[in-house]
Subunit: 210 residues, 2 copies
Protein backbone atom coordinates (compact mmCIF):
# COMPACT_ATOMS: atom_id res chain seq x y z
CA UNK A 1 0.00 0.00 0.00
CA UNK A 2 1.55 3.27 -1.13
CA UNK A 3 0.41 6.61 0.30
CA UNK A 4 0.30 9.99 -1.44
CA UNK A 5 -1.19 12.36 1.08
CA UNK A 6 -1.34 16.07 1.71
CA UNK A 7 -2.45 16.80 5.30
CA UNK A 8 -6.08 17.90 5.57
CA UNK A 9 -6.59 18.10 1.80
CA UNK A 10 -5.99 14.75 0.14
CA UNK A 11 -5.49 11.14 1.13
CA UNK A 12 -4.55 8.91 -1.78
CA UNK A 13 -3.72 5.25 -1.50
CA UNK A 14 -2.51 2.90 -4.26
CA UNK A 15 -2.47 -0.90 -4.19
CA UNK A 16 -0.81 -2.91 -6.94
CA UNK A 17 -0.81 -6.38 -8.48
CA UNK A 18 0.98 -8.03 -11.36
CA UNK A 19 4.58 -7.76 -12.54
CA UNK A 20 6.56 -6.32 -9.62
CA UNK A 21 9.12 -4.49 -11.79
CA UNK A 22 6.27 -2.79 -13.62
CA UNK A 23 4.25 -1.88 -10.53
CA UNK A 24 7.29 -0.67 -8.59
CA UNK A 25 8.33 1.52 -11.53
CA UNK A 26 4.88 3.06 -11.67
CA UNK A 27 4.85 3.79 -7.93
CA UNK A 28 8.42 5.17 -8.04
CA UNK A 29 7.57 7.47 -10.97
CA UNK A 30 4.45 8.67 -9.14
CA UNK A 31 6.55 9.33 -6.01
CA UNK A 32 9.07 11.29 -8.10
CA UNK A 33 6.26 13.24 -9.71
CA UNK A 34 4.39 14.05 -6.49
CA UNK A 35 4.75 17.75 -5.73
CA UNK A 36 6.61 18.45 -8.99
CA UNK A 37 3.70 20.28 -10.55
CA UNK A 38 4.12 18.22 -13.76
CA UNK A 39 0.50 17.72 -14.87
CA UNK A 40 1.41 14.32 -16.39
CA UNK A 41 3.05 12.96 -13.25
CA UNK A 42 1.87 14.86 -10.19
CA UNK A 43 -1.13 13.15 -8.60
CA UNK A 44 -1.05 15.72 -5.81
CA UNK A 45 -1.69 18.58 -8.23
CA UNK A 46 -4.92 17.47 -9.92
CA UNK A 47 -8.36 18.36 -8.57
CA UNK A 48 -10.21 15.06 -8.86
CA UNK A 49 -9.55 11.41 -8.28
CA UNK A 50 -10.68 10.70 -11.81
CA UNK A 51 -7.60 12.63 -12.94
CA UNK A 52 -5.44 10.79 -10.40
CA UNK A 53 -6.55 7.45 -11.88
CA UNK A 54 -5.82 8.86 -15.34
CA UNK A 55 -2.25 9.71 -14.33
CA UNK A 56 -1.70 6.27 -12.83
CA UNK A 57 -2.94 4.71 -16.08
CA UNK A 58 -0.77 6.99 -18.21
CA UNK A 59 2.36 6.23 -16.18
CA UNK A 60 1.57 2.51 -16.41
CA UNK A 61 1.32 2.78 -20.20
CA UNK A 62 4.64 4.62 -20.29
CA UNK A 63 6.38 1.89 -18.27
CA UNK A 64 4.89 -0.90 -20.41
CA UNK A 65 5.74 1.00 -23.62
CA UNK A 66 9.34 1.23 -22.41
CA UNK A 67 9.85 -2.26 -21.02
CA UNK A 68 7.21 -4.48 -22.60
CA UNK A 69 9.07 -5.79 -25.61
CA UNK A 70 12.11 -6.65 -23.49
CA UNK A 71 10.07 -8.43 -20.83
CA UNK A 72 7.75 -10.34 -23.17
CA UNK A 73 10.18 -13.26 -23.78
CA UNK A 74 10.31 -13.89 -20.02
CA UNK A 75 6.65 -13.51 -19.13
CA UNK A 76 3.84 -11.14 -18.41
CA UNK A 77 4.82 -7.48 -17.86
CA UNK A 78 1.37 -6.19 -17.00
CA UNK A 79 0.21 -4.69 -13.71
CA UNK A 80 -3.01 -3.31 -12.29
CA UNK A 81 -3.84 -0.90 -9.49
CA UNK A 82 -6.49 0.13 -7.01
CA UNK A 83 -6.51 3.89 -6.48
CA UNK A 84 -8.60 5.03 -3.54
CA UNK A 85 -8.99 7.82 -1.04
CA UNK A 86 -10.38 11.32 -1.00
CA UNK A 87 -9.57 14.78 -2.31
CA UNK A 88 -11.21 17.64 -0.40
CA UNK A 89 -14.26 18.72 -2.35
CA UNK A 90 -15.01 15.18 -3.51
CA UNK A 91 -16.52 12.17 -1.76
CA UNK A 92 -14.20 9.21 -1.19
CA UNK A 93 -13.72 7.33 -4.46
CA UNK A 94 -12.17 4.06 -5.54
CA UNK A 95 -10.81 3.21 -8.99
CA UNK A 96 -9.38 0.11 -10.60
CA UNK A 97 -6.71 0.80 -13.22
CA UNK A 98 -6.39 -2.03 -15.72
CA UNK A 99 -3.20 -3.19 -17.42
CA UNK A 100 -4.38 -1.25 -20.48
CA UNK A 101 -4.20 1.97 -18.48
CA UNK A 102 -7.94 2.61 -18.59
CA UNK A 103 -10.01 2.32 -15.43
CA UNK A 104 -13.40 1.81 -13.75
CA UNK A 105 -14.85 3.26 -10.57
CA UNK A 106 -16.62 1.51 -7.70
CA UNK A 107 -20.28 2.41 -7.16
CA UNK A 108 -23.23 1.43 -5.00
CA UNK A 109 -23.91 -1.41 -7.40
CA UNK A 110 -20.30 -2.58 -7.39
CA UNK A 111 -19.12 -1.60 -3.93
CA UNK A 112 -15.83 -3.48 -4.08
CA UNK A 113 -12.98 -3.87 -6.55
CA UNK A 114 -10.26 -6.52 -6.59
CA UNK A 115 -6.90 -6.90 -8.34
CA UNK A 116 -4.48 -9.81 -8.62
CA UNK A 117 -5.63 -13.33 -7.70
CA UNK A 118 -9.29 -12.33 -7.38
CA UNK A 119 -11.52 -15.37 -7.83
CA UNK A 120 -10.98 -17.33 -4.62
CA UNK A 121 -11.82 -14.32 -2.50
CA UNK A 122 -14.79 -13.02 -4.47
CA UNK A 123 -17.70 -15.21 -3.22
CA UNK A 124 -17.53 -14.03 0.39
CA UNK A 125 -17.63 -10.41 -0.82
CA UNK A 126 -20.51 -11.16 -3.19
CA UNK A 127 -22.45 -12.77 -0.36
CA UNK A 128 -21.87 -10.39 2.51
CA UNK A 129 -20.53 -6.99 1.43
CA UNK A 130 -22.77 -4.10 0.42
CA UNK A 131 -22.48 -0.34 0.16
CA UNK A 132 -24.13 -0.21 3.59
CA UNK A 133 -21.58 -2.41 5.33
CA UNK A 134 -19.74 -0.71 8.20
CA UNK A 135 -16.01 -0.10 7.84
CA UNK A 136 -15.26 -2.81 10.39
CA UNK A 137 -17.58 -5.31 8.68
CA UNK A 138 -15.96 -4.50 5.33
CA UNK A 139 -12.51 -4.87 6.87
CA UNK A 140 -13.34 -8.30 8.29
CA UNK A 141 -14.72 -9.41 4.93
CA UNK A 142 -11.65 -8.12 3.11
CA UNK A 143 -9.40 -10.09 5.46
CA UNK A 144 -11.51 -13.25 5.07
CA UNK A 145 -11.40 -12.74 1.30
CA UNK A 146 -7.59 -12.66 1.52
CA UNK A 147 -7.67 -15.71 3.77
CA UNK A 148 -9.70 -17.66 1.21
CA UNK A 149 -7.10 -16.76 -1.43
CA UNK A 150 -4.19 -17.62 0.85
CA UNK A 151 -5.63 -21.04 1.66
CA UNK A 152 -6.30 -21.86 -1.98
CA UNK A 153 -3.16 -20.41 -3.60
CA UNK A 154 0.12 -21.11 -1.84
CA UNK A 155 1.87 -18.23 -3.63
CA UNK A 156 -0.30 -15.65 -1.81
CA UNK A 157 0.48 -14.68 1.78
CA UNK A 158 0.78 -12.05 4.49
CA UNK A 159 1.70 -9.36 5.39
CA UNK A 160 -1.64 -7.67 4.68
CA UNK A 161 -1.93 -3.89 4.69
CA UNK A 162 -5.35 -2.72 5.83
CA UNK A 163 -6.62 0.86 5.92
CA UNK A 164 -10.06 1.80 7.20
CA UNK A 165 -10.54 5.32 5.91
CA UNK A 166 -13.40 7.40 7.33
CA UNK A 167 -15.01 9.96 5.01
CA UNK A 168 -13.68 13.50 5.46
CA UNK A 169 -11.15 12.43 8.08
CA UNK A 170 -8.11 12.83 5.79
CA UNK A 171 -6.47 10.51 8.29
CA UNK A 172 -4.38 7.37 7.91
CA UNK A 173 -4.53 6.67 11.64
CA UNK A 174 -6.59 3.52 11.23
CA UNK A 175 -3.93 1.65 9.27
CA UNK A 176 -2.61 -1.74 10.30
CA UNK A 177 -0.25 -4.33 8.82
CA UNK A 178 -1.07 -7.92 9.76
CA UNK A 179 1.85 -10.35 9.73
CA UNK A 180 1.37 -14.13 9.58
CA UNK A 181 1.85 -14.45 13.36
CA UNK A 182 -0.45 -11.57 14.27
CA UNK A 183 -2.75 -12.78 17.03
CA UNK A 184 -5.89 -11.12 15.64
CA UNK A 185 -5.27 -12.57 12.17
CA UNK A 186 -4.73 -16.09 13.52
CA UNK A 187 -7.79 -15.84 15.74
CA UNK A 188 -9.97 -14.48 12.92
CA UNK A 189 -9.04 -17.30 10.55
CA UNK A 190 -9.61 -19.96 13.19
CA UNK A 191 -12.93 -18.58 14.40
CA UNK A 192 -14.21 -18.18 10.86
CA UNK A 193 -13.25 -21.69 9.80
CA UNK A 194 -14.74 -23.21 12.95
CA UNK A 195 -17.91 -21.17 12.51
CA UNK A 196 -18.19 -22.16 8.86
CA UNK A 197 -17.89 -25.87 9.60
CA UNK A 198 -20.52 -25.56 12.36
CA UNK A 199 -22.78 -23.59 10.01
CA UNK A 200 -22.57 -26.25 7.30
CA UNK A 201 -23.09 -29.03 9.86
CA UNK A 202 -26.35 -27.39 10.90
CA UNK A 203 -27.72 -27.16 7.34
CA UNK A 204 -30.15 -29.90 6.29
CA UNK A 205 -28.85 -32.68 4.03
CA UNK A 206 -29.84 -32.68 0.35
CA UNK A 207 -32.96 -34.65 -0.60
CA UNK A 208 -32.46 -38.18 -1.93
CA UNK A 209 -34.46 -37.49 -5.10
CA UNK A 210 -35.78 -34.44 -6.96
CA UNK B 1 -23.52 -36.42 -15.35
CA UNK B 2 -23.19 -39.45 -17.59
CA UNK B 3 -23.56 -42.99 -16.23
CA UNK B 4 -21.86 -46.16 -17.43
CA UNK B 5 -23.01 -48.88 -15.08
CA UNK B 6 -23.23 -52.63 -15.03
CA UNK B 7 -25.58 -53.82 -12.27
CA UNK B 8 -23.79 -55.15 -9.20
CA UNK B 9 -20.35 -54.97 -10.81
CA UNK B 10 -19.48 -51.42 -11.83
CA UNK B 11 -20.81 -47.92 -11.31
CA UNK B 12 -19.00 -45.34 -13.43
CA UNK B 13 -19.91 -41.67 -13.59
CA UNK B 14 -18.40 -38.99 -15.83
CA UNK B 15 -18.70 -35.21 -15.42
CA UNK B 16 -17.42 -32.84 -18.06
CA UNK B 17 -16.32 -29.22 -18.51
CA UNK B 18 -14.98 -27.16 -21.38
CA UNK B 19 -15.96 -27.10 -25.05
CA UNK B 20 -19.39 -28.74 -25.31
CA UNK B 21 -18.83 -30.16 -28.81
CA UNK B 22 -15.65 -31.81 -27.57
CA UNK B 23 -17.09 -33.16 -24.33
CA UNK B 24 -20.29 -34.41 -25.99
CA UNK B 25 -18.25 -36.21 -28.66
CA UNK B 26 -16.17 -37.91 -26.00
CA UNK B 27 -19.25 -39.05 -24.06
CA UNK B 28 -21.00 -40.20 -27.25
CA UNK B 29 -17.95 -42.21 -28.35
CA UNK B 30 -17.73 -43.78 -24.89
CA UNK B 31 -21.43 -44.65 -25.06
CA UNK B 32 -20.94 -46.22 -28.49
CA UNK B 33 -17.95 -48.13 -27.19
CA UNK B 34 -19.59 -49.40 -24.00
CA UNK B 35 -20.19 -53.13 -24.28
CA UNK B 36 -18.44 -53.38 -27.66
CA UNK B 37 -15.44 -55.20 -26.24
CA UNK B 38 -13.10 -52.78 -28.09
CA UNK B 39 -10.23 -52.39 -25.59
CA UNK B 40 -9.64 -48.82 -26.81
CA UNK B 41 -13.24 -47.70 -26.36
CA UNK B 42 -15.07 -49.97 -23.93
CA UNK B 43 -14.89 -48.62 -20.39
CA UNK B 44 -17.13 -51.46 -19.25
CA UNK B 45 -14.58 -54.07 -20.32
CA UNK B 46 -11.47 -52.99 -18.39
CA UNK B 47 -10.70 -54.21 -14.88
CA UNK B 48 -9.65 -51.01 -13.13
CA UNK B 49 -10.71 -47.41 -12.98
CA UNK B 50 -7.16 -46.39 -13.83
CA UNK B 51 -7.77 -48.01 -17.23
CA UNK B 52 -11.19 -46.32 -17.49
CA UNK B 53 -9.54 -42.92 -17.01
CA UNK B 54 -6.95 -43.90 -19.60
CA UNK B 55 -9.68 -44.66 -22.15
CA UNK B 56 -11.45 -41.36 -21.45
CA UNK B 57 -8.14 -39.53 -21.97
CA UNK B 58 -7.39 -41.44 -25.18
CA UNK B 59 -10.84 -40.72 -26.63
CA UNK B 60 -10.44 -37.06 -25.69
CA UNK B 61 -7.10 -36.93 -27.53
CA UNK B 62 -8.72 -38.55 -30.56
CA UNK B 63 -11.51 -35.95 -30.66
CA UNK B 64 -9.08 -33.06 -30.26
CA UNK B 65 -6.75 -34.53 -32.89
CA UNK B 66 -9.69 -34.68 -35.29
CA UNK B 67 -11.33 -31.34 -34.60
CA UNK B 68 -8.72 -29.13 -32.97
CA UNK B 69 -7.29 -27.37 -36.01
CA UNK B 70 -10.77 -26.56 -37.34
CA UNK B 71 -11.99 -25.23 -34.01
CA UNK B 72 -8.89 -23.20 -33.12
CA UNK B 73 -9.88 -20.10 -35.17
CA UNK B 74 -13.14 -19.87 -33.19
CA UNK B 75 -11.91 -20.56 -29.68
CA UNK B 76 -10.83 -23.17 -27.21
CA UNK B 77 -11.59 -26.79 -28.12
CA UNK B 78 -10.35 -28.37 -24.91
CA UNK B 79 -12.39 -30.27 -22.34
CA UNK B 80 -11.75 -31.99 -19.04
CA UNK B 81 -13.52 -34.73 -17.11
CA UNK B 82 -14.09 -36.19 -13.67
CA UNK B 83 -14.31 -39.97 -13.77
CA UNK B 84 -15.57 -41.54 -10.56
CA UNK B 85 -17.28 -44.60 -9.21
CA UNK B 86 -16.36 -48.14 -8.37
CA UNK B 87 -15.51 -51.39 -10.14
CA UNK B 88 -16.04 -54.53 -8.04
CA UNK B 89 -12.69 -55.59 -6.64
CA UNK B 90 -11.52 -51.98 -6.25
CA UNK B 91 -12.35 -49.28 -3.72
CA UNK B 92 -14.27 -46.26 -5.06
CA UNK B 93 -11.88 -44.02 -7.02
CA UNK B 94 -12.03 -40.56 -8.55
CA UNK B 95 -9.91 -39.26 -11.43
CA UNK B 96 -9.53 -35.93 -13.16
CA UNK B 97 -8.73 -36.20 -16.87
CA UNK B 98 -6.97 -33.09 -18.17
CA UNK B 99 -7.35 -31.56 -21.62
CA UNK B 100 -4.04 -33.21 -22.47
CA UNK B 101 -5.62 -36.62 -21.90
CA UNK B 102 -3.46 -37.47 -18.90
CA UNK B 103 -5.00 -37.65 -15.45
CA UNK B 104 -4.61 -37.53 -11.66
CA UNK B 105 -6.41 -39.39 -8.89
CA UNK B 106 -7.95 -38.05 -5.69
CA UNK B 107 -6.37 -39.22 -2.45
CA UNK B 108 -6.62 -38.67 1.30
CA UNK B 109 -4.42 -35.61 0.87
CA UNK B 110 -6.47 -34.25 -2.02
CA UNK B 111 -9.96 -35.54 -1.25
CA UNK B 112 -11.70 -33.45 -3.89
CA UNK B 113 -11.20 -32.62 -7.56
CA UNK B 114 -12.79 -29.83 -9.58
CA UNK B 115 -13.16 -29.07 -13.30
CA UNK B 116 -14.42 -26.01 -15.15
CA UNK B 117 -14.75 -22.69 -13.31
CA UNK B 118 -12.98 -23.93 -10.20
CA UNK B 119 -11.59 -21.00 -8.24
CA UNK B 120 -14.68 -19.36 -6.77
CA UNK B 121 -15.82 -22.62 -5.24
CA UNK B 122 -12.48 -23.88 -3.94
CA UNK B 123 -12.08 -22.01 -0.62
CA UNK B 124 -15.12 -23.56 1.06
CA UNK B 125 -13.85 -27.02 0.10
CA UNK B 126 -10.35 -26.20 1.33
CA UNK B 127 -11.76 -25.03 4.64
CA UNK B 128 -14.34 -27.65 5.44
CA UNK B 129 -13.98 -30.83 3.37
CA UNK B 130 -11.75 -33.72 4.40
CA UNK B 131 -11.45 -37.41 3.63
CA UNK B 132 -13.43 -38.00 6.84
CA UNK B 133 -16.41 -35.83 5.85
CA UNK B 134 -19.70 -37.74 5.67
CA UNK B 135 -21.39 -38.10 2.27
CA UNK B 136 -24.09 -35.63 3.30
CA UNK B 137 -21.55 -33.11 4.60
CA UNK B 138 -19.56 -33.45 1.36
CA UNK B 139 -22.75 -33.04 -0.68
CA UNK B 140 -23.69 -29.82 1.15
CA UNK B 141 -20.19 -28.45 0.64
CA UNK B 142 -20.25 -29.36 -3.06
CA UNK B 143 -23.56 -27.52 -3.47
CA UNK B 144 -22.27 -24.47 -1.58
CA UNK B 145 -19.15 -24.56 -3.74
CA UNK B 146 -21.39 -24.45 -6.83
CA UNK B 147 -23.41 -21.67 -5.24
CA UNK B 148 -20.27 -19.57 -4.71
CA UNK B 149 -19.42 -20.04 -8.38
CA UNK B 150 -22.95 -19.27 -9.53
CA UNK B 151 -23.03 -16.03 -7.51
CA UNK B 152 -19.66 -14.86 -8.82
CA UNK B 153 -19.93 -15.97 -12.47
CA UNK B 154 -23.22 -15.26 -14.21
CA UNK B 155 -22.50 -17.84 -16.92
CA UNK B 156 -22.69 -20.69 -14.41
CA UNK B 157 -26.08 -21.99 -13.23
CA UNK B 158 -28.38 -24.88 -12.33
CA UNK B 159 -29.46 -27.60 -12.87
CA UNK B 160 -26.97 -29.40 -10.65
CA UNK B 161 -26.60 -33.18 -10.80
CA UNK B 162 -25.63 -34.65 -7.44
CA UNK B 163 -24.82 -38.29 -6.71
CA UNK B 164 -23.96 -39.56 -3.26
CA UNK B 165 -22.41 -42.94 -3.90
CA UNK B 166 -21.92 -45.34 -0.98
CA UNK B 167 -18.97 -47.72 -1.16
CA UNK B 168 -19.84 -51.20 -2.39
CA UNK B 169 -23.48 -50.26 -3.01
CA UNK B 170 -23.18 -50.24 -6.82
CA UNK B 171 -26.30 -48.13 -6.61
CA UNK B 172 -27.31 -44.84 -8.24
CA UNK B 173 -30.40 -44.56 -6.03
CA UNK B 174 -29.12 -41.50 -4.19
CA UNK B 175 -29.03 -39.27 -7.26
CA UNK B 176 -30.81 -35.93 -7.45
CA UNK B 177 -31.00 -33.08 -9.96
CA UNK B 178 -31.53 -29.65 -8.39
CA UNK B 179 -33.23 -27.07 -10.60
CA UNK B 180 -33.09 -23.32 -9.88
CA UNK B 181 -36.50 -23.39 -8.23
CA UNK B 182 -35.85 -26.49 -6.11
CA UNK B 183 -36.97 -25.72 -2.57
CA UNK B 184 -34.02 -27.39 -0.87
CA UNK B 185 -31.56 -25.55 -3.11
CA UNK B 186 -33.17 -22.16 -2.45
CA UNK B 187 -33.37 -22.81 1.29
CA UNK B 188 -29.75 -24.01 1.45
CA UNK B 189 -28.42 -20.88 -0.30
CA UNK B 190 -30.48 -18.57 1.88
CA UNK B 191 -29.62 -20.26 5.17
CA UNK B 192 -25.95 -20.35 4.30
CA UNK B 193 -25.77 -16.70 3.29
CA UNK B 194 -27.69 -15.61 6.40
CA UNK B 195 -25.48 -17.77 8.60
CA UNK B 196 -22.33 -16.41 6.98
CA UNK B 197 -23.34 -12.79 7.53
CA UNK B 198 -24.20 -13.56 11.18
CA UNK B 199 -20.90 -15.38 11.63
CA UNK B 200 -18.88 -12.44 10.26
CA UNK B 201 -20.91 -9.99 12.37
CA UNK B 202 -19.91 -11.91 15.48
CA UNK B 203 -16.19 -11.84 14.71
CA UNK B 204 -14.15 -9.16 16.48
CA UNK B 205 -13.11 -6.08 14.48
CA UNK B 206 -9.49 -5.75 13.34
CA UNK B 207 -7.12 -3.88 15.64
CA UNK B 208 -6.46 -0.21 14.88
CA UNK B 209 -2.68 -0.69 14.81
CA UNK B 210 -0.23 -3.61 14.56
Amino acid sequence: MAFFSVPQSRTLVILSAGNLATSQSVIALLEQGAGSGDPKRDIQAVDSQFDVAGIVGAVLREVIDNDGKYVAPFGDDTASFLVGGQIRGEAPRLFQVYSAGNFVEASDRTPFLQIGETKYGKPILDRALSANSSLDQAAKLALLSFDATIRSNLSVGPPIDLLRYESDSFSLANFVTLEAQNEYWRDLRQRYSNGLVALVNDLPAPPAAS
